[in-house]
């Protein structure tokens, strides 16, 4: 087992704890960069899907995992980012401008939403965001002249410096574009975690009263959390629009909002790895279910039966399994396995047993 001897405060502040960790992540980066050359175009598309979901997950994670504000309606911000980006591009604005502006606008909407939400906690905040998601769906239809209403919009092809980056025409280029955005956001996320900003988020999450006593401005911090979270989600939405090609209000419906939340729970709440692991599950689930369905159909001779809602139900069943058996999510399980090997043979079975918290009413805050 490796014992890390720290000789400077930098060791705690650095991105990687020690050389070996940096090596493994470097290898991962290399593998991810080399991926498009090793797999088929279809699989590249699947990988892009996973990356975009991971980005959306990171956005939600900032709010839920770091600042402790439960959000059930994050698709509202996916939609804002997606529509802003597409509408601006359709009006002739180049991608390199419309993309960050879409993120910025989603962030600003997030800050505006944060203001009435300042006094809300727990379930009330969750309901507030849920109402937002439902409202945004309806607003998109109502603002038909701008948003194309029910028929939706077609995302134009991205043009950067003369190169046409289209999901089908240049899959590798699209992949690298999305990858670049995801890596940049992940770096920002990690910077946030190790800086005073991230600590303020955690303080607001755990004890608003003592956070204030320490000088943390609640309103500013919550607004910042909402702003950053919604900006990242907006960027993911913009990319989603390009990935899907065409979209309308149904693309960002309630089921997707809940899928996002389920995704980060399965992956592991509050960890960057969790967002990626959850995205992998969400990204490949439809393919796997279709595959299983065909297999079952072949084996039992009943042919492939399409039952609506099967995908969602399977997803839900997996989620329930995780909550009951592995509440720390996939990253939690991976961490436990790794710790087992690191501490072998001294791994203690109840090392990660959570402190049981007996319910104390939220109605007295």
């Amino acid at each position: 087992m490796r014992t890390v001897f720290k000789t400077s405060y930098d060791a705690d502040i650095r991105l990687f704890k020690h050389g070996a960790q940096a090596f493994w992540y470097g290898l991962l980066l290399l593998a991810v960069v080399a991926l498009p050359w090793l797999i088929s175009d279809y699989m590249i598309g699947e990988a892009v899907n996973v990356l975009i979901w991971a980005l959306a997950g990171l956005g939600l994670m900032v709010l839920t995992g770091q600042a402790g504000q439960a959000s059930l309606g994050h698709t509202a911000f996916l939609a804002v980012g997606c529509y802003t980006n597409a509408i601006l591009q359709l009006k002739g604005v180049p991608f390199l401008v419309s993309f960050p502006v879409a993120g910025l606008l989603a962030g600003i909407v997030g800050v505006i939403v944060a203001i009435p939400a300042l006094r809300l906690h727990g379930i009330y905040l969750a309901i507030f965001t849920l109402a937002l998601a439902v409202l945004v769906e309806d607003i998109i239809v109502l603002a038909a002249p701008l948003t194309g209403g029910i028929s939706g919009l077609n995302a134009p092809t991205i043009k950067i410096l003369g190169a046409e980056i289209d999901r089908y025409g240049a899959p590798k280029l699209f992949y690298y574009l999305v990858l670049a955005v995801v890596v940049a956001v992940t770096l920002l996320y990690r910077n946030m975690l190790r800086s005073p900003l991230g600590r303020s988020f955690a303080a607001v999450r755990d004890s608003e009263i003592s956070a204030q006593a320490m000088g943390v401005d609640l309103a500013r911090t919550k607004a910042a959390a909402f702003g950053i979270s919604c900006a990242i989600t907006g960027l993911a939405g913009a990319l989603m629009g390009h990935f899907a090609g065409t979209f309308n209000h149904e693309t960002f419906n309630l089921a997707i909002a809940i899928q996002l939340l389920l995704m980060i729970v399965i992956g592991g709440l509050g960890s960057i790895h969790g967002a990626f692991l959850g995205a992998i599950v969400v990204g490949f689930m439809p393919t796997m279910i279709a595959f299983l369905r065909d297999y079952v159909g072949k084996v039992t001779g009943t042919g492939s039966i399409a039952i609506p809602g099967l995908e969602a139900a399977v997803f839900a069943a997996i989620l329930i399994g995780f909550i009951l058996l592995e509440p720390m999510g996939m990253y939690g399980r991976w961490f436990k396995i790794r710790t087992y090997f690191e501490l072998f043979p001294f791994y203690r079975r109840d090392m990660f047993k959570r402190q049981k918290s007996y319910l104390k009413t939220e109605r007295m805050r």
Binding site: P196, S207, A224
Partner: protein, 259 residues
């Protein structure tokens, strides 16, 4: 000019008068204790100084200027730090992270520089870490540095509360029942720490306490309260033997008191 002045402060919760025309001042460099039975209004006074409540009448002045116009999150910037009676730590963070939040008052970086983690932010982080390590050394919390607060024993959490308040480098330290729930040894340590805080760090201490031995050992002056009203103010021995204070704690003697 006194460091902290409370001037005829009154606070009502509906029909209940929690604090009734209380006035006192805390001089720089002294240790001032608030004593009294439960419900006397001591923590309420603290909460008014922290600006969680606003008095119905009267003024509270810090370094000569009234603080009644400030929101709670500005109090730390004045140099006032506090601990909480029922421990309000950040449960899901490590002790180190809790203490670093205490440095919020001295943070000079902003949102943008934080997100990009500029070299300025890096140097600031090291600076904050050094300041926090001094507090950890003082209160001997080295063993708990990287442990999550949620699993720590009660006595240690009380010390972390104190450490977090000290990390803000305050001029005035408000301690809300620092010794409650502590063992005899831990209270001894606390006595020495309060002495050091006053002598070595030059911090003024205002504390609410029930442990009379601790109060007698460290305080310069004591204010006794009961039912929101002032009973006696003066050095510990004087206040302890004051008839009104004795009556509030122990009760009137069996014979009726003659007018």
């Amino acid at each position: 000019m006194s460091l902290l002045e409370l001037d005829h402060v009154t606070l009502r919760f509906g029909g209940l008068v929690a604090v009734n025309d209380v006035s006192f001042s805390v001089e720089e460099g002294e240790v001032f204790a608030l004593v009294g039975p439960n419900g006397a209004g001591k923590s309420t006074l603290f909460n008014m100084i922290s600006r969680f409540y606003t008095p119905a009448a009267g003024d509270i002045r810090f370094q000569g200027k009234s603080i009644l116009g400030l929101p709670p999150s500005q109090i730390a910037y004045l140099g006032i730090a506090r601990t909480f009676q029922n421990i309000e730590l950040f449960e899901h963070s490590t002790v180190l992270q809790n203490l670093l939040v205490g440095r919020r008052r001295h943070v000079r970086s902003n949102l943008a520089s934080d997100l990009f983690f500029t070299p300025f932010v890096r140097n600031e982080e090291i600076r904050h870490r050094e300041a926090v390590e001094k507090v950890i050394d003082f209160l001997e919390l080295q063993a708990y540095r990287d442990k999550l607060v949620a699993g720590l024993p009660y006595g240690v959490r009380k010390v972390v509360e104190l450490a977090r308040a000290l990390a803000t480098e305050p001029k005035l330290l408000l301690l809300d029942e620092p010794a409650s729930g502590l063992s005899v040894e831990e209270t001894q340590d606390l006595t020495y720490w309060i002495e050091d805080i006053r002598k070595l760090m030059g911090i003024t201490v205002l504390m609410v306490e029930h442990d009379m031995k601790l109060v007698a050992a460290v305080s310069d002056r004591v204010l006794a309260l009961a039912d929101g009203k002032m009973l006696a103010l003066g050095p510990p021995r004087e206040v302890q033997s004051h008839p009104a204070v004795v009556a509030a704690y122990i009760g009137q003697p069996a014979e009726a008191v003659t007018s």
